[in-house]
Symmetry: C2
Subunit: 255 residues, 2 copies
């Protein structure tokens, strides 16, 4: 009996028709049997949002040897939940989310639907990886991000990941990336977040925008800095957000 | 000159009209000047989702001595961002999100809009706390959760919190809670997540539901267990999700 090919679940937050997920799918074909299960439209900035106020639906888009593509009415996390519960049949051996049109370094991991999907895969016990390119354009060049995403995906498929840990790969917008640097999530936040506008009835209305402010621009393990210097950044992320250090201190004053 | 009263920002994910936020607001009146800035409708399960595809609007609901109430068209995180950027005038001294109708222990912190708002407050450098009651009912009894939420809010206002750390308080549905236990986020996930239903056109449709499965039911620091034994659980949570331990190991094989 031939060994079963690895089963790879692919999703994203830009929707199943985005160039990033199509290029990712094409480049991962040699690693296993692929199931693409992705939102039917762009769902950026959805973090780990889930849909409980309405039912979800999904549609088969196409099926060929080694690849099946579905679209789903839900968020990126909904896609992972629904695919694993109802569609894949067995637990996938790998989940790759992306390639996102736009970076998800630093605190962006908190808001990103791409990374929400990767976190959800991790909660299911699937070795999971999010891949993002620092280019928002619809026709961005994914050549380097595919090359590096493929390398990390292959390694994760071979070695696995610790229980409760998933990976965040960000790739700079460059024709030649210098390599991958293992980093930590840099500290920072957005400032000047809203553009002021008005409704047709002269009511104020606020569009989210803003400038990212790095809180520690010279820290050597900083993912934002690695990207600035032409490296891809790879940050291992944990599902468990408990602050164990402060937990001990808090015990002295509470309960 | 009299000292300025502390400024407290209150939000939630059940909407500004929910009983939980109204009771919370009433019980925090003695701690400072309150601004309630909350979604105009229920936005449960929104995690740290943000709205960038359309502009946000907000409305003044009422204003009285020491209390101003606004509703906003966005998610819980949108509410925090918009309030701090455009409405509060100065950085609030405390953010309290809740009281949520329903528990947010264990992995629920990942999906919860209540906790998304608390995390966002923390990113702004505001000492931030989410409060949830393990009762989904619209007319739940918030007496104990108000008493404990008030105690923790008062302590946080006095002592502050470490930079990048926020608190998750969950209160069991009991007439008399035994006290507060400082815990860590227990490991677990939901199983059997979808109820199968159909559209009027005989298409399958899937409602999110599911049973929470605790992965380590006897761990002494487990928040789910503390709640089971009649205590409120208090978990300090970190914005930085980097897995520092695995980062060192990953360096040996990548880059």
């Amino acid at each position: 009996m031939p060994e079963k090919k690895p089963l790879i679940l692919i999703t994203n937050d830009d929707g199943y028709q985005a160039k990033g997920i199509k290029e990712l799918t094409a480049c991962l074909r040699d690693l296993g049997e692929l199931i693409v299960f992705a939102p039917d439209k762009a769902r950026s900035g959805m973090s780990s949002a889930i849909t409980s106020s309405m039912p979800l639906m999904y549609s088969l888009i196409r099926k060929e040897e080694g690849l099946t593509v579905y679209s789903c009415t839900g968020t990126p996390v909904d896609c992972v939940k629904l695919a694993v519960n109802e569609v894949t049949g067995r637990r996938p051996d790998l989940l790759v989310s992306g390639i996102n049109h736009g970076g998800n370094m630093s605190i962006a991991v908190n808001y990103s639907g791409t990374m929400g999907a990767a976190a959800e895969g991790c909660i299911f016990g699937i070795p999971s990886l999010g891949v993002s390119l620092l280019d928002f354009l619809a026709d961005a060049d994914f050549t380097e991000s595919c090359r590096l995403g493929h390398a990390v995906a292959r390694q994760v498929l071979r070695d696995g990941l610790p229980d409760g840990t998933y990976l965040n790969l960000n790739v700079p917008k460059l024709p030649h990336v210098k390599g991958i640097k293992v980093c930590r999530q840099s500290r920072g936040r957005w400032e000047h977040e809203y553009m002021h506008t008005e409704t047709p009835h002269d009511q104020p209305a606020f569009w989210l925008t803003g400038d990212f402010k790095d809180a520690e621009p010279v820290h050597p393990d900083n993912d934002t800095l690695a990207l600035h210097y032409g490296y891809a950044s790879l940050v291992p992320c944990k599902i468990d957000v408990t602050d164990y250090g402060f937990m001990q201190q808090l015990r002295l004053t509470v309960g």
